[in-house]
């Protein structure tokens, strides 16, 4: 087991919005192919942590190391870092003026500069993979929520990221559509994708997660493998949280 590679390492990360101290001395490590599930009450800072990891929010202090690079906005081109760290949002955020295929090929063509032909070929493969092989040329508004989220996953994967961040990817979906998105994510995890997932889907966390991180009030309270954290939580706060959601 000497070949474990660190994908993300966070040390003493702090983030405030004005006077509001949202992330407090966060330490976290995500190794290659790990699936880390972030749980915690609303407002505990889960989204903010994810957004710091791909620099949609800029930290106040601490270090964020991505694939052994200590990334600072002064020294790094954050756009290049974001290419490697894909993100999937609660509300999909598909581009409504582009077709499904257009959504998936936009960034590879514009950002990576690959040929349209190549982007279309890869885009179609990704859409086939997430089960939307018959939807290349429709606009997002004609899709169900579950289909939209699968397009969003394909769009992020099109940049060939090394890490994928998911911020409550199924929270905006009707219950009957949650399964198809979780299945897509599970498939991705089995292929070895490194993932950090904020979710309330405890079944997914148990089955697919390698680690569960419980956050409360901007701090990481407890980290463990799913069976330990869910069945034998060590901290009182974790126990209280788990009983509140069951």
């Amino acid at each position: 087991m000497s070949e474990v590679r660190e994908m993300i390492r966070v040390d003493k990360l702090n983030k405030s919005f004005g006077d509001l101290h949202v992330l407090k001395d966060i330490d976290m490590t995500v190794n290659e192919s790990d699936v880390v599930v972030l749980v915690g009450a609303s407002g505990s800072g889960k989204s903010t942590l994810l957004r710091c990891l791909n620099f949609l929010e800029i930290k106040n202090s601490g270090t964020i190391t991505i694939e052994s690079e200590n990334v600072e906005k002064e020294t790094h081109n954050l756009n290049k870092i974001r290419e490697k760290v894909g993100m999937v949002f609660q509300h999909f955020n598909l581009f409504p003026h582009k077709t499904v295929l257009g959504n998936v090929t936009e960034a590879p063509i514009q950002v990576k500069g690959i040929s349209r032909q190549q982007a279309v070929k890869e885009g179609k493969e990704l859409l086939d993979k997430v089960g939307l092989g018959d939807k290349y040329n429709v606009y997002p508004s004609t899709l169900s929520g579950g289909q939209k989220q699968r397009v969003a996953i394909a769009r992020a994967l099109a940049m060939k990221p090394d890490v994928m961040l998911f911020d409550e990817p199924t929270s905006a979906l009707d219950p009957e559509l949650v399964g198809e998105v979780l299945a897509t994510m599970k498939e991705l995890a089995l292929e070895g994708m490194t993932m950090v997932v904020v979710t309330h889907e405890m079944g997914f966390a148990r089955e697919v997660g390698d680690w569960v991180v419980y956050m409360h009030d901007g701090k990481i309270v407890e980290t463990g493998i799913p069976s330990d954290l869910f069945d034998h939580p060590q901290e009182e706060r974790t126990k209280a949280f788990l009983s509140s959601i069951l």
């Binding site: 791909n54 756009n79 290419e83 598909l94």
Partner: protein, 222 residues
Amino acid sequence: MLLSSLLEFYDIFVGSFDLFLEGLWITFKLSIASLLIAFVIGLFIAILKISNIKILQWIADLYIWIVRGTPLVVQIFILFYGLTDIFLIPMFWAGVAGLAFHSGAYIAEIIRGTIQSIDKGQREAGRSLGMTSGMTMRRIILPQAFRRAVPSLGNQFIIGIKDSSLVSFIGMQDLFGVASSMGSNTFNYLPYFITVAIYYLFIVLILTLIVNKIEKKLARSD
């Protein structure tokens, strides 16, 4: 009585056709040129306004404040005398400048409003894919903002065409300029002003139909 005045009007309408056609051509060139330039100004000012740079926002605010705070005819006269006397710019382009300066402010407000109405998740999605902020603006935000702006922009274009009649005050022979000269040459004002009103109505009608068509087309892809 009514019949004879209708016949007289018909004669004037038909008889002045060639002259009005020349005026129409000037109005057309003037409107197209000024609105194209106004659109570029508007886009530029809108981007200044949404930039996070105080001094740029301040410049945009100052410009919009001046345009809103003064009558168009005053703006046309100042730019006309300023440009033709000091910079020796031809009258036509001085007129274009006056109209573009004016419409630019209103178009800026329209575009700024629609840019800001685009969900912020769109920007975040673009940035999270590694797109630069300029690329995200150009490829993701602006195309959506322009679609939303079509009805208001169409409306502003119609206003711009009607406002172009004010250049007759600096001596241009646009549609309205032709009507005024014909009226004062013949001392028979009313038929010429009714004639020019018909021309404007017709132009606005055509433009309205075009805008409606574009709107329908855009609605389909949404």
